[in-house]
Symmetry: none
C-alpha cells in the first residue's frame, strides 16, 4: 500500500556522506541534500527527523561498516593483521575526516542522534584499542622498534591513511606501499 519510495534510506546516507565530506558539517544543508536526491526537501523528513539525525546515522553506518570488516581480521600474526587493517582503513580513508565533524552535532534536539553519537564514540574507541593491541603485540614480538613509545606508533599508523593517494593506485597496492614505508621508512 502507499506510494513507491523515491529513494532508499541508504541512498540518502550515501549522498549525505559525499556532501559532508565535500562541504563539512556546517556547510552541509538539507537544501543541498535534496538537490542531490529526487523529490522535495520536505520529503527528507519522512526518513529522519532533522539534520542532526541524518548526519549521525550516516557516520554510524560508515564506522559500523569499518568496524565489521576490521573485526573479521585474523589477528594471529599482528604484522599481517596490521597490513590487512590498513587496507580496510585506506578503502574508507575519509573516515577520520568524517568523524572529525561528529563533535559538531548538536544532540540537544534529538534522542536518536545522541544514541548514534554515543555508539560512534564507543566504536571509535574500540578501533583504537584494537590497533593499540596489535601494534603492542608486534612490538613485543620484536617486529617494531621498542624504543618508540606505543602512542607514537599508533599515532603515525592512524595518520597513515590520510596520506593523499597521489598515484591513484588501487587501494590494496596503495595500502601495501604505505605499510611498507611505515615499517621500513623512507631512508636508504
Amino acid at each position: 500500500m502507499g506510494r513507491k519510495q523515491l529513494y532508499a534510506e541508504s541512498e540518502l546516507l550515501d549522498v549525505t556522506k559525499r556532501l559532508v565530506l565535500n562541504h563539512g558539517y556546517d556547510g552541509f544543508h538539507l537544501k543541498m541534500l535534496s538537490q542531490h536526491l529526487p523529490g522535495a526537501r520536505s520529503t527528507i523528513y519522512q526518513y529522519y527527523a532533522n539534520k542532526e539525525e541524518i548526519v549521525a546515522a550516516c557516520m554510524k553506518r560508515v564506522i559500523s561498516n569499518v568496524y565489521e570488516k576490521v573485526s573479521a581480521v585474523d589477528e594471529t600474526d599482528p604484522m599481517s593483521a596490521l597490513q590487512e587493517v590498513l587496507t580496510i582503513y585506506v578503502e574508507e580513508s575519509k573516515l577520520h575526516q568524517l568523524l572529525g565533524d561528529a563533535n559538531k552535532i548538536n544532540t540537544n534536539n534529538s534522542e536518536a542522534a545522541a544514541r548514534d553519537l554515543a555508539f560512534i564514540e564507543k566504536v571509535h574507541a574500540d578501533l583504537k584499542v584494537q590497533l593499540t593491541r596489535l601494534i603492542g603485540r608486534a612490538q613485543q614480538e620484536g617486529k617494531l622498534r621498542k624504543e618508540v613509545p606505543l602512542p607514537v606508533l599508533v599515532g603515525t599508523f592512524f595518520n597513515l591513511f590520510n596520506t593523499p593517494n597521489m598515484l591513484n593506485a588501487p587501494a590494496l597496492q596503495w595500502s601495501q606501499m604505505l605499510f611498507d614505508m611505515w615499517v621500513g621508512g623512507s631512508g636508504q
Copy 2:
C-alpha cells in the same frame, strides 16, 4: 586623527585563526568573532569589507609566515634541510587544516579575497615545489629509497605533521621523532 583603534588588525586575525581552526569555515561567524574581540560586531567592517576577506587575510598571513621561515632554510644538505623544514611545519601544524577550508571561500563578492586566495595557492604550490626539490635531491644523493616514487615520498612527508602529538612533546623534539620515523620506519 580621530579615535584610537580598538584593536590591531593582527589581533583580529589571531582570533580568526583560532576560531576557524576550532569551528571550521562554515562554523565561524562574525558574531562569534566579535564576542572574542572588544567592541561591537559592526566595528569589524572598519577593518575588512566582509567575512570572506577576513578569512582570506588570515590564511594569507599564516602561509606567508611559514613561507618566509621555510625560505630562510639553508638547503645545502637536503636531509638536514628537510628536518628543519619539518620543524617549521610542525610548529604550524594546523596549516593544512586551515588551508583545507580555503576552497570554501566564495570569491565572487570580493576582489581582495580573490587576490589573497590566488596568493595562497601560489605559495602553497611553491612549498610543494621546495619539498619536492629537497626530497628529490636527497633521493639522488642516495639518502632516500630510490624505488619509492617521488610523489609518494612527498605525500608521506607532507602528511607527517598532521600526526597528533599525543605525547605533547615540544615542537623540536616531536619533529625530530617524526623525522626519525619517516626516515627509519617503525620496523625493527
Copy 3:
C-alpha cells in the same frame, strides 16, 4: 550612538498581549506580531531571543503589575479589601485567560522563558494565598457563610471577574455590582 529604535520593548509586549488574548498562544505568530509593529520580523529578535521569551515576558509583566497593585491594598478590613482587590482584577480581567496559556510555553529552548514562567507561577500562587487569607478572615469575622467550604468561596470569587461585562459598565461600577452579587446573591 546607533540608530533610534523603531519601538520600545513595552510596545512590543502591549501588542503581544492583545494578540495572544485574541488568538491564543498557538495562534500567535511572530509574523503576526511584526505586522502589528513597524519594521521587519527579524527586528523582533533584537528584543527577545524567541517566541517563548516574548510571551513569557508579556505574561510576567501583566501578572507583576496586578501583583503590585494588589499588594498595596489595605487589608485591615477583609471585606473592603476584597472589594478593592476585585476592582483590580476586573481591570485586568483577561489575566486568567492569559495565564491559561502559560503552560503551553515550551521552556526547553530558553532559560529566560523558564525563569519568567517560574516567577509567574510563584506570583500566581501568592495571589491565591492572599485571596484565601482575606476570604478566610472574612469568614472568621462572620461576614461570609461558614458552612461553605473555603475553596468554594475562593473559586467563585476567582471566577467572578471572567463574567462578561455586558453592560460595558466602568470597571469600578462593574466590580461593585459583581461583588454585591457575590455577597448577596441573585435571590430576593
Copy 4:
C-alpha cells in the same frame, strides 16, 4: 461489501473534543488526532474533508447534545428549571471553552464547516434566549432581585459553570452548591 471501518465517526469526534479542549484549536493537529486513533493519518480524510470540518462537526455535536437535554427541561417553575439547566451545563462545563475556539475556524475552504458554524451560533443564541426567558420569569415571580439588570443575572449565571470544581464534587452536588451560592450569595 468493502472493508469494515476502522472506527466510528463518533469516536473520531470524541477524541477531537478531548484534544481541542486540552490543546486549543491551533494546538490541535491531525497528526495528533491520528495518534489517538487506529490507522493512518490520511485515513481521516475518508471521514472529513479537512481539519475545519472535523472541529466544526465536533462542536456541533457537543452543543446539539446540550441543546437537546436543555430543551427537555420542564420550565413550569423557572427556579427549579434553572437548577436543572445548570446541572446540564455543569456536566458539559467545557462547553464555553470549546465554543470559544469556534471563531477560529476558517470557513473559506469548506461549505460544510460554514454550515455547522452557522448552526452552532444559532443554537448558542437559542440557549441564551432560553436562559434569559427563565431568569426573566423568575425575576417577575419575585424570586430574583428586580434591581439587578437582566443581562447581569444572565451573565453571572452563564459564567457560573466555569468555576473550577476544586472539591471534585459529583456534577449534581456541585451544581446545587453553585446554584445555592448564585441565589443566596456568599454573605452571612
